[in-house]
Amino acid sequence: MAGGEGCGVSEAIRGVLKGEHVEIPYSAELVEKGYGEVEGENLLLNLCEAAYLLDRGDLMVVDSGGKRISFEEIVTLGAKTDPDFWVKLLVYSDLRSRGLQAKVISGSQPIIVVDRKTREGEKRYLVVCLEEGKRIGFREVEVFIRRALEARRELVTAIVDKEGNISYYKVDKVIGV
């Protein structure tokens, strides 16, 4: 199991799979760490968060009938509606294991926002997952640049190779060359 940031829970939380989410009881600690969306008394984890916490042993998931749901089942479910699910999970897990607060943004683009506390203050990144071999045009790059600018975040590309290795590169538009 990967090291890095734990969610700080000694015993696995019990979550119930509801459609595309896993419902767990509200936890101030998890909310503070950037997990889930609060809904009433509960916290709704997306499948990426659920898969990550499940893999760490911090979460156990059951279906409405009480049957245990495995990591494999969560991943398979996630990939059914989102072909980028595994790539997002790879990058998300990598970022989390580096101790960074990450949040997958739902939508058609594989985007994860990251907040990183450094000595110089907080860094805010908009991480776009790009796969080796999947070419990207300048028009698309421009869309990402604009999006990062609007969100007041620095644009970072997470480049995922054929084996799932990840390299991160910051993209800057140079104005005064």
Partner: protein, 188 residues
């Protein structure tokens, strides 16, 4: 440097598809006193400004200098070669000549020295002061706007800039003919 910037137009000769200034004094002046254009025949890196050799200009240098009114190019018969003809030669020699030239012009317009970056694996190596005068030039690689980058090329750009210790910038010309410069830096 004793010589002043050229007031009289320099003449260059079209030798096949290559452009050469045969007047050694004017060539030397064009290189050392006016933006380090071209390369001296058989001299790879001039160390002192007393070179006495023919100066070969790139077709980009030639088009730019001709447009700036600093250069006249003559063909084998001694007839003036118009800029349009020169650009055609460029287009024949260079796949994306037009975009490369727009970037060249943009950089020269910012008072930067733009030289071939071939030895570094990029379109241009760009200096603020000039070759031999500084250690921190940067690389500019021109790509067509409609080309598509394999993300692995982003890694290559980042790696290259690290290994040659030079900023590596990708330039492209968008549909409004504006030049855009992108820099990729390794984060983690």
């Amino acid at each position: 440097m004793a010589e002043s910037a050229p007031k009289t137009k320099v003449e260059a000769r079209l030798v096949g598809r290559r452009i050469v200034v045969f007047d050694r004094v004017k060539g030397r002046n064009m290189y050392f006193n006016d933006g380090f254009y071209g390369k001296f025949f058989m001299v790879s890196k001039p160390k002192t400004p007393n070179v006495e050799r023919e100066l070969e200009l790139s077709v980009l240098d030639a088009v730019y200098l001709a447009e700036e009114g600093k250069l006249t190019i003559l063909d084998a018969e001694g007839n003036k070669v118009e800029v349009d003809v020169l650009k055609k030669i460029g287009e024949e020699m260079y796949e994306n000549f037009n975009e490369v030239y727009i970037v060249y012009r943009d950089l020269r317009g910012k008072n930067l020295i733009v030289k071939s970056g071939m030895k570094f694996g990029a379109t241009f190596v760009v200096y603020r002061l000039g070759p031999g005068l500084e250690h921190a030039p940067f690389l500019v690689h021109v790509l067509p706007y409609n080309s598509k980058l394999d993300p692995i090329e982003i890694v290559r750009a980042g790696r290259l800039s690290h290994s040659v210790r030079k900023r590596f910038i990708i330039a492209y010309v968008d549909t409004s003919r504006k030049v855009n410069y992108l820099q990729f830096k390794w984060l983690m």
